[in-house]
């Protein structure tokens, strides 16, 4: 079995140092973002919990990938060219996992906590899920294994992907050079992804390469006259990490166990887009955009409001 370093573990000291540097910059310059003690503490605890979940439950995903590895006849080897190809294809895999994570409530229940801060700084990057294993999204790694990429390599490049995404959670960096913004995910592109503004909902799912969003029609640029406002459409009212981690799962449980709804309704409450309801008492992102456009028809056709 190829031996790759646990890169995320080794990045932890860098994360701490970078947070201190970003905070010092913001505190001294009085611009480039905001920090709040309890918000940051919650984000950091969510990050620690995510690492703990990986230690406790990571074997489940690993077992699935190794089971597939045993049945595939393909083995692409471990050359650096193969690692690079694996990194690119894994980023495509990340794009779709992330997109599903915003379009299916089952996966959103795991991912929602990452968007639950009204702040956007480097600690937000560490506000990670504790329940990723039970989304079963590991299955989207199956094609890579079956194509002949070793599971250890896939986990390694997944770690690199996560590390790349750390530095883009900042307001301290405006925009990168134009060529870089065209190809790579950047703080500007990812601020859009974290925006709760109607324009920015369901956009910029990229991990490393923003080209996936441009290819699949989900790219929205950051507009200077529509500054991203961070958080959820309906922000949560707690800093308690347990509530942050599990609140949407509790919401699903309450909805699927309602009285007087059909089995189809129960399935939709679990797996349809966030905001779906059997009686239209809630709004999904499409409805929020429609309502916004009804009030601001002049915005129709501008970025984020391209669809009729």
């Amino acid at each position: 079995m190829p031996d790759y370093p646990a890169v995320v573990d080794w990045a932890v000291p860098v994360f701490v140092l970078a947070i201190l540097m970003e905070f010092a910059w913001i505190h001294l310059r009085r611009r480039g973002g905001r920090y709040e003690t309890r918000d940051a503490l919650t984000s950091l605890l969510m990050g620690a919990g995510n690492v703990a979940e990986g230690i406790l439950l990571g074997f489940v995903g690993w077992w699935v990938l190794m089971a597939l590895w045993r049945i595939t006849p393909l083995d692409l080897g471990t050359s650096w060219a193969v690692v690079a190809l694996c990194f690119v294809l894994d980023d495509l895999r990340y794009y779709w996992v992330h997109r599903i994570g915003h379009r299916s409530r089952w996966v959103w229940a795991s991912h929602v906590n990452h968007h639950s801060s009204q702040h956007y700084n480097l600690t937000t990057a560490l506000r990670q899920t504790w329940t990723g294993t039970i989304t079963f999204m590991v299955i989207l790694r199956a094609p890579l294994v079956l194509l002949g990429f070793h599971p250890a390599m896939i986990v390694f490049v997944g770690g690199l992907n996560l590390i790349y995404q750390f530095w883009i959670h900042t307001e301290a960096i405006g925009r990168m050079p134009r060529w870089f913004e065209a190809v790579m995910n950047t703080p500007s592109h990812h601020r859009v992804h974290h925006g709760r503004n109607p324009r920015y909902l369901d956009s910029n799912y990229a991990g490393v390469f923003i080209i996936w969003d441009k290819l699949f029609g989900t790219f929205v640029p950051e507009l200077d006259d529509d500054k991203p406002e961070y958080g959820l459409v309906h922000n949560i009212g707690t800093f308690n990490p347990l509530r942050v981690a599990f609140h949407e799962w509790v919401g699903i449980l309450r909805d699927v166990s309602r009285r007087g709804i059909t089995m189809r309704h129960r399935l939709y409450y679990a797996f349809a887009q966030p905001g779906w309801s059997h009686d239209d008492s809630r709004e999904d992102s499409a409805a929020i955009k429609r309502r916004y456009l009804a009030a601001h028809p002049e915005q129709r056709g501008t970025p984020g409001f391209d669809e009729p």
Binding site: A40, I236, G237
Partner: protein, 127 residues
């Protein structure tokens, strides 16, 4: 990285950052200063649900809507808002309930006159 190294870095890193933020004044909560701020903040959370009337203290605001009530409260340096499911007397003020796991019940510290007025508004609508 061995857990014997990783764990102290995580624990000391989290604690150190939290202490640094607190000591440099980043724990200060938002203060509600006037009705305009309350309405502005409410609109940020519920743009399609404008208030009929608002009552506020520096910490929290009661918002009357066309079909019920909402509460605007502190979330650290920011505000957070939710439609009210329950409002009951409690020692030193009121207890607000939201029937939402993501939004725990809140104790509202109010003067006697504020408590009576907020409760009267609530009971008028829910009598």
């Amino acid at each position: 990285m061995p857990l014997t190294i990783l764990l102290p870095i995580v624990v000391l890193g989290i604690a150190g950052i939290a202490i640094l933020l607190h000591l440099t004044g980043h724990s200060a909560p938002v203060i509600l200063r006037d009705a305009a701020q309350v309405r502005r903040e409410w609109a940020r959370h519920f743009p399609a649900d404008p208030p009929d009337a608002v009552w506020w203290t520096p910490e929290v605001a009661l918002v009357r809507l066309s079909d019920g009530f909402g509460l605007l409260g502190r979330m650290g340096a920011d505000t957070v808002a939710h439609r009210l499911a329950r409002l009951e007397p409690a020692p030193g003020g009121l207890r607000a309930g939201f029937a939402d796991f993501a939004f725990p019940d809140r104790h509202l510290t109010l003067s006697d006159s504020q408590r009576d007025e907020w409760l009267a508004q609530w009971r008028n609508r829910h009598a």
